[in-house]
Symmetry: C2
Subunit: 564 residues, 2 copies
């Protein structure tokens, strides 16, 4: 058996190694357009920022090491120009010698990945505009920083690469502006969760400008000028364009393979394309979303690696199936961690799924043990069954643990009741006896069983202002004085029972505290006494970030710091 | 409704607060024998070592704060002398005034906890021997350290409290010896996993003496002498006795409640005792083990808290059930973390469950990103279904995350196949594209599908020495030279294909490398070529810790460092 693989990173490299382990005698050839194989794709931004110091750490695997260990023929600098599915051949160009040749296959695996999106804007081809996808891109950017010592940079796009690049540029003492077309960075988060990240990034020195679509680029003698659609402009020394990626599927298209959304390659559960001898894996394929069941394109390293393994299994006769991706992702930005898994509100709404949501605010571990920090967890669940649909977490220490527990729970089809029962490992340096994930379960359980009714920050502005409802803030007086919901009265929780006479019984009471915990206790007291109550999900603390974000945005877009 | 609760920590305090949230009008009284309520039980050792500096951090809750927030009457220094289930009354002694009185109940919750075991050895009542269970015990030990400035201490017992105390005493610059009756510390681990902990603790300055049962204690003018059963003795300034706890159920016994194993209180799934008006929670009860289904006593804070919530639910009419404990536990010792969940080999064997096991050795995150450290994961699975039965992890960073993912997988009844498919959140600072838990799944899957056959370290000594089998070490030459299995030949993996002629085809080949990963690749090469192979689970690196432990023990027991 002769297997050819197009693409030697993540999915392609995994497939090659797995193929060899399953079949010692197969002939396996990997074609990689870039000069590197199986490189540390996700580590590239950290080399630019100097966190990863050694070039070699990024490129541990070489064609020679693949040959030695796996007897696999890896051909770098080798561009596949076309696929001929009928003849089962590839037409390849050696980019160093310029020579072209043909190679036949019994089975072909496509792992071409995705390419950085470059919008057709005037000036986009300036060599002061960089994209980051390959090792070569990385070295180019690093070299530019080392040689030209830019004092400012603009990152365009607030996804994973854009944010990681912004962090690493700031680490290099470069004044960095991030331009984001929409009102939030980090698309896997909902807007309300992203607000905390916005505030944090600004506190770390990032000049973050939301709602700032670009009209054109203009190269200058000593830099590049970016014209925004709102008529303003800013000058900078270099631009890092990171507005997203799209499946690199021109070859597949020309070969007549069926493409789906975003021109991603359509595969079945065995990762077989519309041609039975061609499999496809990684960022270039369309998958079904594990939670919604809808078709999706989810370019992440974890799924790519798993798919590589599965494609190899199927080629070697093992009926292995891919169950879909759930979009588990995580990013470290300075000391903050943002993570998500499953559906967020945007994707749940797009899928037409009926959900409810809870916001939890929990310390990373027992607060009496030093070093605890708070995290915010937003969890969506199915209102009928309580099944967990997705979760987003923003915080510092311990965020990665909770998102993985929630990702596992989602994989297992678990409900809020199940989260309440999870027996996680507790000691003071690591957690609390009631882990943040248990707390998520407790709140969902309380909602499903009618022990608490919530209201959300989006509803605050719709509350009647005519005195027909009571807004009750149960925080301490000093907390209340520093900022509270307009029209709310303050009765601290610990004196609520003595002050019930201040609350009219025939009016609905909208209770809030800072996080939703004290107000839940107040809710229970009041509702046991016959009041009709609603508890502000996430509390005033959550809402405050949204207020801050909305107020900041306009100022920030016209603030100083970058030459305008 | 009037509810009395005996015990105001963990389970008792949780039950009280939950009761109030569910029923604003109930009369709730909590009796706590010690002077403190809802204190930070698991934080006590860290106050002794000075990591938690403020006394108040341990005792944030007070009777006054409980009264204010929950309208609960908490009576500290109040010992319940007897329960009269027929009359539904308690007979209580106020330990400060000496007064006794009776209190009636509609429902009673027992949360008496466990007490430190004190064996009936000569000299055991010396006031230089301390136990640690309450806040008072903690202050007593801290005061002894501050006033008497002991230069040496002996900890007896290598469970959670003993180990945490040893760490904290060493942090205080006190020369610390730990005496352990059996051949290992940390009972939730199997011996082979504990060996790594033993080596690490010794490297941190702990004088660890295994297999060292004590015969008697003898108080001296300036210290205390400990006579071991092997005839040796050692002198020290103070002894911390931490050989375990037993359910504190004398009251329950006298009240005629049914007791089970270790005199723990028998409860049904609603946590109801043999008396329908009495519920019991926490360290004092017998639970069913979530994985084995067997009766067990599992004194841990997480389960105690969940049980408190469930008892309150049932009392308030919500049919809530406890599904059993799985013994998820974790401990930080200096920078090392040891964790476990579910069954280990000892408990699986006791339960008569047919299992197989895999040992994985994985970096905590992508090795090209700074700060990665290795962890060892031992996982037991059902040989028929692949269901995960339990897991133990020893390592540094990221151990807490993996044990919680595995604990969640166990709760969800997941198999090794499911672990392979888990989509966990990956970025270089947090994990690898193939997370350590995925790797566990991959190995289990390979075993279940016959793609690899293992042998374990216990079997090494049983391998025939007559030349009828080949022991093949596929590490590099330099690794091999530093120590290898007796009788093994060395062919590094990357030159295996050229040296096949050195391996006789008609003999079984027992392959090993350092961790089991390279030898798995060798296994696949050889077995594809018709060899009969076995792969050493965990590799030579795992076995080396066991060899080291066995060789160390005897020397350590008679080493210097403590006055003999």
């Amino acid at each position: 058996m002769k297997v050819l693989i197009i693409g030697g990173v993540a999915g392609g490299a995994t497939a090659a190694a797995r193929l060899r382990r399953l079949n010692e005698k197969a002939e396996i050839i990997v074609f990689e357009k870039s000069g590197y194989v199986s490189y540390a794709n996700c580590g590239l931004p950290y080399y630019i920022g100097g966190i990863i110091e050694n070039k070699k750490a990024l490129t541990l695997q070489t064609p020679a090491s693949f040959k030695k260990r796996f007897n696999i023929d890896v051909r770098v600098n080798s561009e596949v120009l076309s696929i001929n599915p009928k003849e089962r051949t590839l037409f390849i160009k050696d980019l160093q010698s310029g020579k072209t040749y043909t190679e036949s296959y019994d089975k072909l695996i496509l792992s071409p990945g995705a390419k950085a999106i470059k919008p057709a804007l005037p000036g986009i081809d300036s060599d002061k505009i960089f994209t980051l996808r390959t090792v070569e891109d990385t070295f180019r950017i690093r070299e530019c920083i080392e040689r030209q010592k830019p004092s400012s940079a603009v990152v365009v796009g607030g996804g994973f690469i854009g944010l990681e690049m912004a962090e690493n540029l700031i680490q290099e003492q470069i004044h960095t502006t991030l331009l984001q077309r929409s009102s939030q960075v980090m698309p896997p988060l909902d807007y309300d969760m992203a607000c905390q990240l916005h505030a944090y990034l600004r506190s770390q020195g990032l000049d973050l400008r939301l709602n700032s679509p670009i009209a054109s680029y203009e190269e200058m003698a000593d830099g590049i000028k970016i014209h925004l659609k709102d008529g303003t402009a800013l000058e900078t020394d270099m631009v890092l364009l990171a507005i997203g990626v799209s499946p690199d599927t021109q070859l597949a298209k020309e070969a007549g393979l069926t493409l789906g959304a975003k021109d991603a390659i359509v595969v079945d559960e065995h990762l077989q394309t519309s041609d039975k001898d061609i499999y496809a894996v990684g960022d270039a394929i369309q998958v079904s979303h594990f939670v919604s069941g809808l078709e999706a394109v989810i370019p992440l390293a974890g799924p790519a690696n798993k798919q590589g393994r599965i494609a190899a299994d199927n080629i070697c006769g093992r009926q292995s199936t891919y169950q879909g991706s759930q979009g588990s992702s995580i990013i470290k930005l300075f000391d903050m961690t943002c993570a998500s898994t499953g559906l967020n509100e945007k994707t749940a709404q797009a899928a037409g799924i009926k959900y409810d949501k809870v916001i939890n605010f929990s310390p990373s571990h027992a607060t009496y043990y030093p070093g605890a920090s708070d995290m915010t967890i937003k969890t969506l669940f199915d209102t009928e069954t309580g099944r967990i649909l997705g979760s987003q977490i923003v915080g510092f220490d311990g965020v990665d643990k909770r998102v993985d527990v929630l990702a596992t729970a989602i994989r297992g089809g678990m409900t809020g009741y199940d989260l309440a029962e999870l027996e996680l490992a507790y000691a003071p340096p690591f957690s609390s006896a009631k882990d943040p994930v248990n707390m998520v379960g407790f709140v969902i359980e309380n909602i499903l069983e009618g022990r608490v009714k919530q209201y959300h920050w989006e509803e605050i502005k719709e509350l009647p202002q005519d005195g027909s409802v009571t807004l009750l803030d149960v925080r301490t007086e000093s907390e209340y004085r520093e900022g509270a919901l307009a029209g709310s009265i303050n009765i601290p929780l610990d004196s609520l029972r003595e002050n019930l006479h201040q609350i009219e019984k025939n009016k609905p009471v909208y209770v809030n505290c800072y996080s939703g915990l004290r107000s839940y206790v107040a809710f229970r007291i009041l509702s046991e006494l016959g009041y009709c109550c609603y508890n502000l999900s996430g509390g005033y603390g959550f809402y405050e970030y949204i207020l801050y974000d909305k107020s900041f945005d306009d100022t920030a877009r016209h603030g100083c710091g970058v030459k305008i």
